[in-house]
Symmetry: C2
Subunit: 369 residues, 2 copies
Amino acid sequence: MSDHSPAQADNVTMSSGGLYSLATKGAKDVIDKATPQVLEAIDRMNPEPELSEFHMVDMGCADGGTSLQMVEAVIQKVRQAGTETPIRVTYSDQPRNDFNALVGIIHGISDFDTYLNRHNNVFPSCSGASFYLQGVPDLSVDLGFSATAMHWLSRKPCDIANHVHMVGASKSELQVFAEQARTDWETILLCRARELKPGGRLVLVNFCIDPDGQYLGNTGGINMFDTFHSNWSQMLDQKRISQHEYARMTLPQYYNTIEEFSEPLVDTDSRCYRAGLRLEKIQTAVVRCPFAAEFESDNDTKNFADGLIPTIRSWNESTFLGALDPARPTDERNQLIEDYYELYRQQVLDDPSGHGMDYVHAYMTIARV
Amino acid sequence: MSDHSPAQADNVTMSSGGLYSLATKGAKDVIDKATPQVLEAIDRMNPEPELSEFHMVDMGCADGGTSLQMVEAVIQKVRQAGTETPIRVTYSDQPRNDFNALVGIIHGISDFDTYLNRHNNVFPSCSGASFYLQGVPDLSVDLGFSATAMHWLSRKPCDIANHVHMVGASKSELQVFAEQARTDWETILLCRARELKPGGRLVLVNFCIDPDGQYLGNTGGINMFDTFHSNWSQMLDQKRISQHEYARMTLPQYYNTIEEFSEPLVDTDSRCYRAGLRLEKIQTAVVRCPFAAEFESDNDTKNFADGLIPTIRSWNESTFLGALDPARPTDERNQLIEDYYELYRQQVLDDPSGHGMDYVHAYMTIARV
């Protein structure tokens, strides 16, 4: 029985206390960019005015702040059909997510402006079932959405010896990661196939390696993941971390290509295709790092470094921290992590050119026949 | 628009971090006592095997630990109908509730044993809509449950000058509280009338004043609420708190009588009756204070005091803290609260006889025609 197991690999949590949405302006930009595709998906569904309810799910929602406006656009779209159909919004994430921040943001006890201020007959709720599990009953979802979440694998299939991420893995390591990612992607899709109503749609916005070989933080300038690795390696050279700590720092992530995302949705023999899922649309797009963009206009190096490093920390700090020997005192571990990110910050301060974390995503619409 | 407003009067929160369920063994005893009535209510509903889903709601759930076994009994009962009908369990509480503890307990990342370990096709989710709001769509609930929660008023209608609770209010203050409670009870019931499916049932287990005049902590021994008041009054006499702090310490609670609970459900002209709610059953019962019961068998005074005081703090500390002048430094406020509860603890240590917090509830079953 795995209904209640953690959502992703252990030691992976986003920043808590509402900090996630504050730190990740770029993640909101990505969702804003996806919003027209979400509305188009609703057009394709053509919801009937006599619909008993419209149920959308935001999977891997973190604190929910980045998707508030997208959810409101969906509410407006459904209301345009001319009815007061009840709208259920299920937010899901792993059980260690910060649900207090999520509920606070949705219910307006935060600095975020919630759609509940303007819309009636909308019923949000939260689920601790990750996207690796079925989170809602069979045939109950009209619209499934997820952004910048499904690159987290269900487990770390192996350590990557000389890097911290699959983008720098050796050929054999990459094969192991690709196989894990293939299985995980199939698991994710088969859960969704059960949850979706016939005619329902998924809009999934996932990190990818695009046809030009670009990916998160690697769009022509300095490769962000290589910086992660070289700085971690420097801490090993300085004997501040052990060989074991160096080696096991491996992000349990995989960035699929367009082909890898598409395969189970177009191969008529695949389990996902047979379960009724069909790829309607897939395209990639780059969303500019908001901190790099701001730097281009204001040339304020300190502001740039003080924006970029926290946005990086918000999603990978827990993994770096988890790689450190738990026998070290907590203070010592925290100091090592502070020093690790300070290295990066100083590099940006010394020479900001080429730094940044551009987002590279595949934007998919998937139908359930 | 009030869809997202806090669930109860401000400054009312239960203990966080899973401490609520650990501290309130008695609250679980009450739910266990109600469980046969819950199962009987399901018998009356006679759920059909081809039911598309069975949806139960636990309103005012706190961290969910006290109701885990009752929810599992419901799951078993529904499964006895011989089907794998999906079961949705919606947990609701005010948005400042500790949802992290709640999700952790439900999903098995706590010391509590969750029903998800043993049952498939069960989908829990959490809502930050209090029982003063409609939390789920119209006509969507089979079974609504709430225990030891609905005595919290939506607001404090006035201060009680010479006591901390309505059980010690003057006649005119009591009238104001009774009117607030009447309106609040109607609001709570009308929300439920919208949510329930026809044929659905509510089982509500609410603090009451029973036909013998007994209520929480007042069942023949020392009146717990009078102790709250006399100790608070003593801090005023010692000039440790101001007259203003003394006066505004008023718990926003009301304990209805059987007649007050029943009135909108049996008066054929009432809005609740016209909305389809019918009282099927109401009875009162006393559940013994588990710490007093333990003391009777082991005569361990320290153990008694160290159990009783935390169970009291778990539900009223936030109100005492909120009565203190916010201009005081936080440390000073915390120390005053420590000292306040220490007074009570010493009284129990000095002479334990007559102390305790017996629970006095009305157990209601309400049908939606």
